[in-house]
Amino acid sequence: MSAANLADTQTSRPAASAVPVGPGRVPWQREAIGIVVGFALLALLPLIFTDSYSRHVLIMVFIYAIVASNWDLSLGYGGIFNFGHIALFGIGVYAYSLLTKLAGLDPWVAMAASGAVAVVAAVAITIPILRLKGIYIILVTFGFAQLVMQIILSQSDYTGGTQGIVRIPSLYIFDHNMVRDGKFAYFYIALALLAASTVFLRAFVRSRTGIGIVALRDNEEYAVSRGISLVRQRLITLAASAFFTGVAGAFYAAYQRNASVEVFSMSLGTIILSMVLLGGTSTIYGAIIASFVLTVFSEAMADFGAWRPIITAVLILVVMLAYPGGIVGMLKSAMAVFSRRTSARKS
């Protein structure tokens, strides 16, 4: 019996288990195996790409992938147009920098704390948008991101203002030299973070809470009338999407060893948002694949100068216009064509 048939029989039957099984839903065991195999393959990538530059590119891919896939949780699954997501990343960057440099906190503790700070910030963004819908949420959260940036710029005694912060303490593993190992340690830390984030996100969206937020997105009135609390779910969704985003920011600060308000810029926001949309929303994996595609694509065009953002923009436009479902939608339709062909051959 094929996977598609299995999913069909499961949907036609009323769900008896704690978590209802939706259309196209893969059993969790199968998905867990997929995640393990996928990340094992990623862990082997340094065997193929042996220079430290490609490891650097992959580290950036992993950081973007964490930020983009967490954004997919609030934007795709939650349907909450949180344009302050990139600010949560920036808050992680600055929280880590200030906690390690000014408060002298241990880098690993500071990294976890940065995630917590981002969660608190996410709750602070959520409170004003609890009553709002659609475009208003875009505007308030956009405003929030700008507000955070302005505050960081104006508190230049602590944050360095436009100069940013330099010589941020890096992470450490016992006496291992993180700087001279060809970025191996950072590669595996970034990969571990992405793996943790992905497992967390997938478990979240498969849980009852995750199904509840999708219900709210698809039919708010009905979901509310069935007893799902809009306020609570929104707070949970945004808080959940913030933790690993903040940690990714902290990791970025530790890796780059400097911080600037560039992390709040519209251009970074545009890139990450296009990863979410290009990958296909409400998939988590789509955002990760798109981070990989866009980053590698952009690195491959490093010699094109000003043409690079132009080509990237055209690519985004073409995919958005031709494939509303993004890369994952593209793969799905390709697979549908393929399976139709193979089943036609069988019959």
Binding site: P128, L132, I135, V140, L153, M320, L321, P324
Partner: protein, 291 residues
Amino acid sequence: MNTAADILFGGLFQGSLYAMMAVGLALVWTTIGVFNFSHGVFMMLGAYLAWQGIAWGFPAYVAFPLAVALMAGVGWLLQATVVRPLIGRANLVLVVVITTLAAGSLIENGALVVWGPRSKQVPPLLEGNITLGGIGVSLHQIAIIVITPIILAALWFFLNRTRLGLALRAVAQNEDASRLVGLNVTMLYALAFGIAAALAALAGIFLGGYRFMTPVMGADPLLKALIVVVFGGISSISGPIFAAYVIGFFEAICSYYFGLYWTPALLFAALILTLMVKPEGLFTRSGGRLA
């Protein structure tokens, strides 16, 4: 006396600029129901086209209207390529945000390739300075203060007193019903985008006349226009216009008493507060309508 004159003049000037930046954004939002994130880039391109016209030896009174007219065409083109094909998609607002952002990035970097990163300036609308109420002001700024209300009044007249304008407002209120009574919705969408882009070009020329222009000059005005539109309420055209002047004065007062550094933060704090208390915007009556 000087303080009052400073605040009054600063408020009027900034308010006029903001109104000019925001009105096109509000027009597109009210008719098509999307936010055009390339609006700031339109301002930049309008200013650069005007500069190019001047560089080719056209006098300002030819180059400026030409740039505005060309930008109307660009607005139409953008609408036809990255907005119109998406109408009817489930997550239209979001997808248009990304396509207009991408198109904006395309135009911005295109301008960088064509004109280079060096900053430029278009000639002011009027040369010279005068002293008014004890403060020195440039005639360019006076011209902006005078011209903006005229343009806005003309737009109001167009939307309220002409057949075409009424058709545009009808589309804003109910697209299906407009189609049923025989309005050409596709053409009206294009018209809204064209007018918006032309207004953005004018705002860009205003900006380029007193500030140096760079290919990235549109980012900040876009942000300001967004704030203005949110403050004023996004269901009307007149709301954002009032809001533009309110914000102009708010900034003039804030930067006088709290300094330039804190003004943007205060503005955003006021914005978030406004939305918490009155999400439909300051100047919206219930059942908001266009103009």
